[in-house]
């Protein structure tokens, strides 16, 4: 009987620890993401168009609903003619007005947002932060710095991650998952090829794409990887482009 009670207590403790760890991990991911978003927004502010932000939020939430992950998703446009987008841990996604302006329709925007959603789902940036923390922990011999770093330090570290970029494998994975998500949502996977192909015109020293090319594989490599992943086996929507969809996308662009 005593052994039974002891076993029960151990199980309860293990359960509580599991729950506690889950809650802590989730809240920490959001905290890291919030600091990272603040750092990016320190470089480029949110645009003031409420209708444009609302549109991005609607599209982003709809795309995110095609994954099983439970995040508090935040989608926004930031004022910069640089061509780039950013995914932060915990569900923060920011797209530059420079990138939005080179897109031609909502399907293309769906790929951009889905690519960023995929980064969040795969925890690409959060894993880099965790590795940095572990390295710091090892070098300092501390018991725990995981929860100990302050918000300004987190923001600063995030700036370095976004300036340096992820490894190519993470970007290819985000392309693949992004295409899956947008296709599941009913968008044309060919739009992903159109977006990546359009980046080819920014080769060279165009300052708008300087950071994008420094932190991502070349467009040609990305096209290759999508074709080798079987993008051409995916179904394409049968219907013609929807007029309402195109109209609301045009309103977004006009509102920038």
């Amino acid at each position: 009987m005593t052994t039974g009670k002891h076993l029960l207590s151990c199980c309860a403790l293990a359960f509580l620890m599991l729950c506690s760890n889950s809650v802590t991990a989730q809240s920490d991911e959001e905290r890291v993401g919030r600091a990272a978003a603040a750092q990016v927004l320190g470089a480029a502010r949110l645009i003031n168009s409420e209708s444009s932000q609302q549109y991005l939020k609607l599209l982003g939430e709809y795309l995110a609903s095609k994954s099983d992950a439970a995040y508090k998703w935040r989608f926004g446009a930031i004022e910069s003619d640089a061509i780039n987008a950013f995914a932060m841990p915990g569900g923060y996604v920011l797209v530059s007005t420079g990138l939005l302006k080179i897109l031609e329709n909502e399907d293309e925007l769906a790929f951009v947002l889905a690519h960023e959603i995929a980064h969040v789902l795969r925890r690409h940036h959060y894993q880099v932060v965790m590795r940095q923390r572990l390295a710091e922990q090892a070098s300092k011999g501390l018991q725990s710095v995981v929860q100990g770093d302050d918000i300004s330090k987190l923001a600063s570290a995030s700036g370095q991650i976004y300036a340096r970029g992820l490894d190519k494998g993470a970007e290819f994975e985000a392309d693949r998952l992004g295409v899956e998500i947008m296709t599941r949502a009913g968008y044309d996977p060919v739009a992903a090829l159109n977006v990546i192909e359009r980046l080819l015109r920014f080769r060279g020293n165009d300052p708008r794409a300087e950071l994008l090319f420094a932190t991502h594989p070349s467009p040609a490599e990305r096209l290759d990887m999508l074709f080798q992943s079987g993008i051409d086996k995916l179904p394409r929507p049968r219907s013609e482009a929807n007029a309402d969809r195109q109209a609301r996308f045009k309103r977004l662009i006009q509102g920038l």
Binding site: A43, L58, Y62, D81, D224, Q228, P235, S239, D244, R245
Partner: protein
């Protein structure tokens, strides 16, 4: 080109007698969906884009003239405002804008209504892409194309390590 391939008469069309040999350089004229129209030594035809490797050129990338690249709504500028590596490193965190971002709320029903209004019809389940082998990129980059507008046939589909959804 690493693999011989017969050209098609059009996207999703029929194979023609035009045959492109492995090792030869091809020039991409345009892309239509998952297909590309190519030219090889004066012969033209359509290939599946998955049959070629875009990154195989020594220059590292391929210019695809789709006829869509010259237009659009791109506004040229001499310098990018914000978002350089330096901006990201030296900027001060802006938590006020984070709060603004967090204040934008959308109910799940609204997102579904958004999809409905846009005429979006999700396809049946089973949408998946495979994860190419780690060597895929290296092998494609080792192709024999010699000009910036040339590509080499890819190594085809190899399914391995499917993404774990």
């Amino acid at each position: 080109m690493r693999e011989d391939a017969n050209a098609f008469d059009k996207p999703d069309g029929k194979p023609t007698i035009v045959r492109f040999s492995a090792g030869s350089n091809i020039r991409v004229l345009r892309r239509d969906g998952f297909w590309i129209e190519v030219s090889v030594a004066g012969k033209t035809g359509w290939l599946k884009a998955s049959q070629v490797s875009f990154a195989a050129s020594p220059g590292g990338s391929v210019a695809i003239d789709t006829g869509r690249m010259g237009g659009g709504n791109i506004v040229s500028s001499s310098a990018a405002r914000g978002l350089s590596a330096k901006d990201l490193l030296s900027g001060q965190p802006n938590f006020n804008d984070v709060s603004r971002l967090e204040a934008i709320q959308v109910a799940p029903k609204e997102a579904q209504a958004f999809a409905l209004a846009g005429g979006l019809k999700p396809p049946p389940n089973g949408i998946r892409l495979s994860s190419p082998p780690q060597t895929a990129l290296k092998s494609s980059a080792a192709g024999g194309a010699s000009s910036s507008q040339s590509v080499s046939p890819g190594s085809g589909m190899k399914k391995k390590n499917d993404d774990d959804w």
